[in-house]
Symmetry: C2
């Protein structure tokens, strides 16, 4: 099954569609007795839909009496356009693009706009090229925004740097829709030339500069948008959303694994904004992807929150397609690609058969289409864990006078607090203190560039014994570890180096559980269900060591993100986020 | 006054806008006490609007307390985005693009999407290049769709041919928005490869293939749209419009001089279609342009027909800008170009001051901006009337047995009827018969290509004496004449050759009135008011010769258009439009 490139059909396909519409030749598929969901005009009409290969030749009264090689009687079920997710970091699901397609296509998702920001931070241009190859010819359209903020911060060591030239090198690709979320809003507000030029690159290519502006309002919002940035997906409050909509911003409402904004924002999904809202998932962890789904989650939940079902669908189809100028996508209309989902129940948005480019690709919740072989990957993608020479001594913290800074987890949030504590010491060293829930926190540069190691303390995991380590650590994706002993941090780190990245739980000098993520240290080659099972075993192993918080690896992966308050740790050391600088452990 | 090229602002302009929005530097203009018309979300908000050069830096609460070099107190008047006309044949107004700007900018029009179909038919690639130059750096954005149907018909001799290579040569131009109206819908429905490839050229350039599908409905409509054609501006009936909207077509509602469709279609302008309708003028004759205006006419009349004023404005701003992906145009929003119109009265849409790119360009109905010098034009544009050697004998019709075909005008319509008459003869010749309102009709090839002359008969002008001749004759723009005597047709034709094209009324061997149209035989160098005055004198002269119909030159200009039923005359002879072929005068 090949989706074919996301470019216009060729002239022979068009001829066939014209001749099929006019009844000069039979179609390939004729759906009869459909309730056709028209997301353009907001109505539902009964009638047939006629396909000519990849294309919709015609529908409704215009094709009554048409013939086709295959007739599919929908018996009054709904036929909707395939869903398009407007903003996804696919790496967060820990699987390849092909495996992602297997997960979401049976749910009625036929397109995703990805920001390969994570693999970009690890593998740079090579990583994005691999992502383009690995997402080609799937039964899912994978569009790409070029990551705009690699590295995200000067207070860390990333694996790559994407400057203006590197970003520009992707903008002529047909599957590239523009420049992805410009997270560096402080840079925009400081009128820093490089970031402004990144936004302009998208505009000069007639593509989209995407935004990321959490709680940015008032004059800051207007300044941010003046740069030509056209969307935001970080909105959390109704008034903030309304202000952004009025300022011309395309509002992407997000329901991720971590940030869930739909329930707060569903009241904005009304006819007044019917062309200005898109639905996105941003980040979906493997368990949520399996159990809840992809962007279909938003449609289902929006309807439950009393959004008109056709309007909810519009936000996940037509609006996103128009925002990104995705030709012939996002509606059931003549000449559009036949990306279609059959629904037993519109209110519940439960997908039955799914068609991509006119072919049945999924049914009964299972992918029917074959996936292409995995894309080949060179060392820049497959061999990305280059640790400095480590020993237990690498994680030592020399004792000093007075109190020290400690990262304090905030339950159910990505925020941390900076707390000052008097550490436990043994000899001349500061050590973990499980009785007070204080563990070592380490960040090891793993891109083979600086060989730097940051060490600090964290409270909140509940870890009594052993260590957890990960090569997923936003946004630099260095090796991040939390441990009760330096020895176990070392064991876990060495295992990560052997596996080429992933997640590990170790204790007593042994590895208790692991999940290899050999693709950039971020993604598995395994099937989603297997990934999820191994994550469960990792969580179980962590719990056996005393960890009380849910999703400890997800929490760990954000402890190095130097843009979320208050205290973080990168390979360069502790970062006081509010002060925007590296700080020592002590005063 | 230079509008600047219609590309993104440069990085210095953006920096200035960001810094101005944040209050770090004063703006260029601050409008206070405005009622800001927000066409995006459909509301009107009170507040200031702050400009930074060409750009809107911010508005409303976000810029309260801002300072600027110039403060303009609007005293509660409305501020709306400048209007954009989605489809115009500017040549129909008989003036240059600069003169067109003088006419429409003071009315609040700041952008037009032109189809230079007429000059394309006369002067080909050179004509369109001239049009691009002549419409550059005006206080009006002039966007261009590349004419798709040059020549329009094989039954005529045009001055040029625009094939795929010629069309493609324009598609990378920043001001080119796509391929203009694909009038050859029979070619599309016949799945003719060349016309399908023209539509695909637009799509592969990520631009728009525009449509023209009068009364095309049902399976023919779906077949037409399957070619990737995305709009229509020929709709005349509500049900037809609804069908097109549902099929995904962007519906352009037209109020031209000849075809006026708004009153029939205004009921379609409702919130359900709020993003799918654009307003266009198509063709506006000089008197209508002067007295009624450009696309502002549609806004005013739509409001009178009870369309919500902000929605009416949306159809002439935001929707058209989004349809053609006109970056930073069509709304009052941060980062958008400051193309603004001050309204004393929103209901009446009466423009006061007009700002283009942040500068005052018109006020009190008068253009304040200087226009650039006329664009230089070579022979392909300025020297286009190349008649064959003519004498009175060129227009002779030999008498034969039996009845002959005659073109019969239908009052107030462009349609003609084919009638059979017994002609008056003198000697061996058929001659005009003023007592029965039968005149000679001639079409002389004027592009210096074939030297062909078609001659026939016409009834309905009321001409008793003399002749009228024109080099405006859709779409081939050969010399078209109607006369009571061959001698006066000859006199008028010779005068046209001397003038390089235009309109002439001659009688008794003398020229009674004329209007030179030296640019491609289509457009004047004169001011609009002067053109209009000379047209009045031409009409008066025609009336003095017995002509009873209004706008005889407009009627004459359509008698050569071989696609409107029933009988037409081109330089190749009489065309039976329903039969689609040339026919002799006699049976």
């Amino acid at each position: 099954m090949a989706s074919g490139p996301p470019v216009p059909p060729d002239v022979e396909e068009i001829k066939t569609a014209v001749n099929t519409a006019l009844g000069r030749q039979p179609g390939t598929v004729l759906f009869t007795n459909a309730r056709i969901v028209n997301v353009i005009t907001g109505n539902i009409q009964d009638g047939p839909v006629l396909l000519a290969g990849r294309l919709i030749a015609g529908l409704g009264d215009a094709v009554r009496g048409a013939t086709a090689r295959e007739v599919v009687d929908l018996g009054g079920r709904w036929l909707a356009p395939g869903l398009i997710d407007g903003h996804v970091h696919l790496e967060s699901s820990l699987i390849t693009p092909g495996e992602y397609a297997r997960a979401v296509v049976p749910r009625g998702v036929t397109g995703v706009v990805c920001d390969p920001h994570e693999i970009g931070n690890v593998s740079g241009v090579d990583g994005i090229r691999w992502f383009l190859r690995a997402s080609d010819r799937l039964p899912l359209d994978v569009w790409i925004g070029v990551p705009s903020c690699v590295p995200s911060s000067p207070l860390e060591t990333s694996g790559a740097r994407l400057g203006l030239a590197e970003i520009a090198s992707f903008l002529d690709e047909p599957r590239v829709v523009g420049v992805a979320e410009i997270m560096d809003f402080p840079g925009v507000l400081a009128a820093r030339e490089e970031v402004l030029r990144k936004a302009l690159l998208a505009e000069t290519s007639r593509k989209v500069a995407c935004g990321h502006a959490p709680l940015v309002r008032g004059q800051a919002l207007h300044a941010y948008l003046a740069a030509g940035i056209r969307s935001d997906h970080e909105t959390t409050e109704v008034e903030e959303g309304l202000e952004k909509l009025r300022a011309g911003c395309f509002l992407m409402i997000r329901e991720g694994s971590i940030s869930r904004n739909l329930s707060a924002l569903a009241t904005l999904v009304v006819s007044r904004h019917m062309d200005r809202i898109g639905f996105v998932t941003d980040d979906r962890l493997p368990n949520d992807l399996l159990e809840e789904g992809g962007v279909d989650v938003l449609v289902r939940r929006a309807i439950r929150q009393n959004v008109d079902p056709v309007l909810a669908l519009r936000c996940a189809t037509w609006n996103t397609a128009r925002h990104f100028a995705l030709s012939r996508r996002g509606a059931i209309a003549p000449g559009y690609l036949a990306d279609l989902v059959v629904l037993d129940d519109l209110q519940e948005f439960r997908a039955g058969a799914v068609y991509k480019d006119g072919r049945l690709v999924a049914d009964g919740g299972r992918l029917r289409a074959d996936l292409p072989l995995p894309a080949a990957a060179g060392d820049a993608v497959r061999n990305t864990v280059h640790l400095p020479r480590l020993s237990a001594a690498s994680f030592r913290l020399p004792a000093g006078p007075g109190q020290v800074r400690c990262v304090k987890l905030v339950p159910s949030q990505l925020l941390t607090e900076l707390v000052w504590i008097t550490p436990r010491t043994v000899g001349s060293e500061i050590v973990a203190d499980p009785n007070r829930d204080i563990a070592k926190l380490a960040c090891v540069e793993r891109h083979g560039r600086r060989g730097t190691v940051g060490v600090g303390l964290v409270t909140g995991f509940g870890l009594r014994n052993g260590a957890l380590a990960s090569t997923v650590a936003h946004d630099h994706h260095n090796l991040m570890a939390v441990g009760a002993t330096d020895d176990d941090i070392l064991v876990a780190s060495r295992r990560l180096a052997e596996m080429g990245g992933g997640f590990v739980v170790a204790a007593g000098g042994q590895v208790l559980a692991d999940l290899p993520l050999p693709i950039a240290g971020l993604m598995s080659d395994l099937r989603l269900a297997e990934v999820r099972a191994r994550l469960d075993r990792l969580d179980e192993a962590a719990r056996s060591l005393g960890v009380r918080i849910p999703s400890p690896f997800m929490i760990l992966s954000f402890l190095g993100l130097a843009v979320i308050p208050e205290l973080r740790l990168t390979d360069l050391g502790l970062v006081d986020v509010m002060a925007g600088r590296l700080v020592p452990l002590g005063a």
